[in-house]
Amino acid sequence: MSALAVSGVSKRFGSLQVLRDINLSLEKGQMLALIGRSGSGKSTLLRCMNGLERIDAGHITIGGHALSYAPAALRRLRQDVGIVFQAYNLFPHLTVGRNIMLAPRLVLRWPSARAEARAREVLATVGLSEKFDAYPNQLSGGQQQRVAIARSLAMAPQVMLFDEVTSALDPELTGEVLITMENLARSGMTMVLVTHEMSFARSIAHIVAFMHDGRIHEIAPAKDLFARPRTEELRRFLSSTL
């Protein structure tokens, strides 16, 4: 069974049609990169996958859950689908350790000791073991983003979504986040990312979808898509970004 199946998804914001009949599927352990210009609908599509935005038509199945907006069903889906945001969105009043422990304690109802052990484990995975007691505002942007990845990882999700996670970072800090994501991909995590990092998408993603005007304009294995763009729009997009 695929880890992600999107079929016939459409969405509009008022009079603006942002997604038009989107169809996608992704196997377990694969990475899908969504690329395209600003406003092409790629972030909206990603946010629809864990119910942060509502779809108007179509179906989404992700991490073994059919997307539904009933609160309890949506919470169960979100336990299995992590998301990392452009602005990190760490909780500023909690230490790094407590940021990570919050969901395992409240959602999975783990005792404190078990949640702490898990937090230390995932912090080690992103290489920030020594930051357990630091507050978010004591960390660099790259470190904060790695903590945000660890926070999602602590829930042991089936699928992880990444919404332009390096776009807010200074260029010298993007590398550490990309390496963390690459390691995650190698460990077999199913990942969907919206990204402007073309070289990362080309070298790490299995499938790349180019979105244009609310549609999936082209979708192909990463190497083919970049080497042989079939449409004029993608050719123009690639020449403007590379």
């Binding site: 336990q79 969105n89 909780f91 500023p92 009043h93 959602v107 960390l139 942007g141």
Partner: protein
Amino acid sequence: MTYQFQFGAVFARAELLIDGFLLTLQLTVLTGLIGLILGLSCAVIRTYGPRPARMAVATYVEIFRNTPFLVQLFLIFFGIPEIGKTFGLRWLPSPYMAGLAALSVNIGAYATEIIRAGLQSVHRSQVEAAESLGLTRWQVIRYVILPPALRNVYPALSSEFILLMLGTSVVSVISVEELTGTANLIQSETYRTFETYALIWVIYFALALVLKGILDAIAARFIGRQKPPPAAAGAAHA
């Protein structure tokens, strides 16, 4: 012409003054606690509750913030028992209970607005992050929104608390014998009007300073350890 200051007559009634002072303190602390709980609940309902509940809270807040406290006090102390009588209820609040109730609902309305501003200061992205981890609505409010919200409005809440303490003096008009009420009594017995009011004036001032010191110490202990978080989580680059 010279005025002969005679504090002696006032000091002779120090025991009365101490009782009054203690009642002022008691009214302040009780009202502060009730007002805080009321404000917290109403702010959460006003922000996240269902529409009818939001409207009800908004009405309460606007009514109590846009009418004089003295009139609210009279309504509760004199007015409500009158209405009760026509329905056969023989409820007569003591001046103390009426004062406590009026102060509490009044401060509750102000606290609601202050705390609501705090809730709104927590960025939507925080809520999205928490919901995306599978937290329930209530867990998001309790663990993600309220702590930074209260931290953000703590200075406003603590100055409101000082204003509340000073405001307790008004309930002396319905003969609650707190500090001002006691002073009214003493000056009518001793005719040392200036001395009496000057003395409680100093006591109020000292109490305000002490309370402010305590509130600042609480802030330093629980909030000062960490710098206030940047407004936008994404803005921090070390």
